[in-house]
């Protein structure tokens, strides 16, 4: 339970590039990643990996671990995609769909051709798009995304809520981690029943502190003349980099050309 990924967004080497360039690049990759055929999707994955690890300076071990994280979901949903079972009488109906299979009791269990194809397409697309998501996650701080949304005329209530949540998520996470540490020190999680008990206490305490925070913040804001608007100081220090811009545009054009050709 840690939020240390956010720190990469502030310390990576692409930090000084204008966020609108980075977000635009990622969105273009999202769209192309959906339309491109699988081989190009693998190339996109590789290219974004170079951006993140080589240009961005994110440690390869961190990025590798991140890429394997959502694959858990992929692994979990792989068997329902590729495995099928039918009773013996129905084998003739699915003859052309069988890739490999064997009999198990009164059933015929087989790997489905269509399922394998679906799984292959799904895997290459999911990895390509996940790496695009990681590009956003690891190189653009969330506050800059919120600021970009503001420029795009996103409703101000959503932005205020995002800003407040971003602020308090870290505070509450700290509180929760401290509580967990204290409970752990007292064997709070040594058995299943204890864990449930401790977790219940933790959540109650957390809600209590959340609302304490609320009252304190309201007092603080009221004493400063709060009129329903949150204003935050923002300094802009970005410098576009010609070399990166050229590589991004050239790469995107190449992907489009390759997609049209294949």
């Amino acid at each position: 339970m840690s939020l240390n990924l956010a720190q990469f967004a502030y310390t990576n080497r692409l930090r000084r590039l204008p966020p609108e360039h980075k977000l635009g690049f990622a969105i273009a990759l999202f769209i192309l990643g959906y339309t491109a055929p699988p081989p190009i999707q693998w190339l996109i994955t590789l290219w974004v990996g170079v951006w993140i690890v080589v240009y961005g300076g994110i440690p390869l071990s961190v990025y590798g671990k991140l890429l394997s994280l959502p694959l858990g979901f992929g692994v979990l949903s792989l068997p329902p995609l590729v495995l099928s079972g039918v009773s013996l009488s129905q084998i003739s109906e699915i003859q052309e769909d069988i890739w490999q299979g064997f009999f198990l009791g009164g059933f015929y269990l087989y790997l489905s051709q269509q399922g394998l194809q679906q799984a292959g397409e799904m895997l290459s697309r999911a990895i390509a798009l996940t790496s695009c998501l990681y590009f956003i996650l690891l190189t653009i701080p969330l506050l800059e995304i919120i600021r970009l949304l503001q420029k795009l005329r996103c409703p101000s209530l959503i932005l205020d809520l995002l800003l407040l949540m971003y602020r308090f998520i870290f505070l509450l996470m700290d509180t929760a981690n401290e509580l967990i540490l204290a409970q752990n020190a007292r064997f709070g999680y040594h058995s299943f029943n204890r864990s449930l008990h401790s977790l219940g206490l933790l959540i109650t305490q957390l809600l209590h502190r959340t609302l304490e925070n609320y009252r304190a913040s309201v007092l603080g804001l009221q004493s400063r003349g709060f009129n329903g608007e949150f204003r935050v100081l923002h300094q802009r220090r970005y410098s576009p980099n010609l070399r990166y811009s050229i590589e991004a545009v050239l790469g995107l054009v190449l992907i489009i050309l390759a997609t049209l050709k294949l």
């Binding site: 339970m1 959502p70 979901f73 269509q114 697309r125 996940t130 809520l161 449930l196 959340t210």
Partner: protein, 252 residues
């Protein structure tokens, strides 16, 4: 032929064991469809289906915050609370761990309309801070976790209140909120990836079957946990619960 059959059975056994080892080593990300998992048309469809609910919830929030701007803070904090709640690790009997959805508790505490907006924002943060879920699949995840889950939980809770069974109401709201989320996810996956034999229904049975292994015990655990939390809130945090009543006029 016999030899080939045997080698296939061996391969299947090896594959299954490898799958179980790898699959159970990682904590299951509480039913978030990962980035890029859905084909384009389905990703778009779920976005389109989720947006009206989100807009409706947002409109009711606009009304209460216009009357009372400080409630923005309460909403932001409630959202942050929901986020931290969903990042906690649920103990599990099987040894692998997972996260509670928190939709049941959220729906009962804040109301389902508000939970739709807060839940969607939580999902955005999970995608951008924790790498759970994704942007293209946000619509689908919002639909299952922030729309169906809270509404089911809220409806169950209201029915139980009418029957005068509050404790059972809390338990079933949390458990069924969790379960319905996973059922909707299974339906979403089945619609996107129908099986060659048996079509959507067969695919649904397969997806739901796989997820049921982990999700049914987790749903029950979350139900018990929520009852524990509710008991403590009743006895030690009654004034706090009064504060949350400020949000209630919105959904009537």
């Amino acid at each position: 032929m016999n030899y080939r059959k045997k080698s296939w059975q061996l391969a299947a056994i090896a594959g299954l064991s490898a799958y179980l080892v790898i699959g159970s080593a990682q904590p299951v990300q509480a039913m978030h469809i990962m980035e890029g998992f859905l084909p384009l048309q389905w990703a778009v469809l779920w976005w389109v289906l989720a947006l009206p609910f989100f807009g409706w919830g947002l409109r009711s929030l606009l009304q209460i915050t216009r009357q009372n701007p400080e409630l923005k803070l309460l909403l932001g904090l409630a959202g942050a609370f929901s986020f931290v709640l969903s990042a906690l690790k649920l103990p599990s009997v099987t040894g692998s761990c997972s996260h509670p959805t928190g939709t049941g508790l959220g729906a009962v505490l804040f109301g389902p309309g508000i939970m739709t907006v807060l839940g969607s924002l939580v999902l955005i943060f999970q995608a951008l801070l924790l790498a759970h879920g994704g942007i293209t699949t946000l619509g689908a995840n919002v639909f299952s976790m922030a729309i169906v889950g809270p509404w089911v939980a809220y409806a169950v809770y209201q029915i139980a209140l009418k029957l005068g069974q509050q404790k059972i109401g809390i338990f079933s709201a949390a458990a069924l909120g969790n379960l319905s989320t996973y059922l909707v996810t299974s339906i979403q996956l089945a619609l996107a990836f129908p099986a060659a034999s048996g079509g959507i229904l067969a695919a649904f049975v397969k997806f739901a079957g796989i997820f049921a292994l982990t999700q049914i015990p987790l749903a029950i655990t979350e139900g018990f946990l929520t009852v524990l939390v509710w008991n403590w809130l009743q006895s030690y945090a009654a004034p706090e619960l009064q504060t949350l009543k400020l949000l209630k006029p919105a959904q009537s």
